[in-house]
Amino acid sequence: MSIATNQEWKPKIIVFTCNWCTYAGADMAGFNHFEYPADVRIIRTPCSGRFDPIWVMRALNRGADGVLLSGCHPGDCHYGTGNYYNRRRQTIMKNMMQFMGIEPERFQTSWISGSEANKFQAVMIKLVDDIRRVGPNRKLRDAR
């Protein structure tokens, strides 16, 4: 993938969502025609408790420029406690990745409930702007 100037480069962003809240929020956003940039690819998982930090590293390693993990707000997880575990795990992992020198914008986390379609749109737009500002990912990228 040749990374020429900023205009031609299109960021590749992966968003992991939990099935019950954020994915429903994304559905709602689509349903209400809330526009958000197309550079985002959504992967649905059963719960934010399923998020594994190695996905983030693997995605950045294999060519993604940014990753977002988004699940239900603490307290209304469909399975009760999934997002609490997720919160601890990703908080530690974000610090760890930044300790290694990865730009903070590249690995973001959020809570989006099923009804917050506008928040979903806002988070997506902010995410893509952040990644555009930070530019293509060269750290942790698997050299060809």
Binding site: R62, G63, D142, R144
Partner: protein, 337 residues
Amino acid sequence: MKVLSKTKLEAALNKLSESNEVFVPMQKKAQSGYYPWTSFVSGDEIMLEALNVYQSPKGAVLPQTEKMYQIKQGGMEIKIDKTFEDDHPTIIFGARGCDVKGILAMDEVFLTRGYEDSFYKARRSANTIIANACYEPGSNCFCNAMEVNAVDPAGADVILRDAGEAFVWEVKTEKGEAVTAIIADLLEEKEVQLPQSKPFNQKVDYSGVAEKLKTMFDHPLWDKLSASCINCGMCTFVCPSCYCFDIQVKMWGEEGYRFRAWDSCMFEEYSREAGGGNPRGASKERFRQRFLHKLEFFTERYGTPLCTGCGRCMIVCPTDVNIVRIIDAVKEAEVNA
């Protein structure tokens, strides 16, 4: 005799580096091994006077990871158009006899028995070995018991003999001539006093070990010897003659390459089969495979032991597994034939 004075050493290395990649034993902060001379920066140190360095020069002919061929997949079509045989000229400058023997053992493996590995052959034929004669064995060295002549290492293209303020430059082969021609103007004709070679501290006698090991596969001593081993891969990666490799692939969608990387019989995944079974899954079995390969199997197949007596694995092993002690234990073990 031809002599290269130590004051001209760096000049010689620079001259050789113009047309070759010269691997020199160096200490780079916490690490010591064979690194390209062009990567020398202030704070590094040339280790030609030291007994030896931690990592062996086998990386010059069998790099830790080596691309093999490129794969392009377009739906139904697969194209393998580019292979990465690398034959840029390299020189291993100042390898001790034990390391040279390690490379000779790998020559036997990769270049004989019906198949010539094209990647190894490309690197090895473009490689010249300048050995560094060894007159003062270290406290762990036992290369004399492993068919290695430390003072006159077989298979070396040029032999350096450290005579105090200069190296005697003894040419052995045509490759040696070619390298000598490059730095001919730096060599002088001088008579120098060669040092006396000192006795070995380790008293090792390898004779009869291979034959005896053939009858000791199920001997209880393996449990005792392998008790403390934690199966990391350190001994196999610092060893000058361990050559086992793994073949893996890296693909990005339609494009990628298959590469070769060092592997270690100590890793559990090394001989794990598709169905999940593993003939050598237990820690003891992997431990036994390593030392039987070093001391018996290689001798049976190629006529010379795979261990070259450099003593590196005895130093780095975190649980102090010691191949000399294993050889002694094998010799003393009574076997009901």
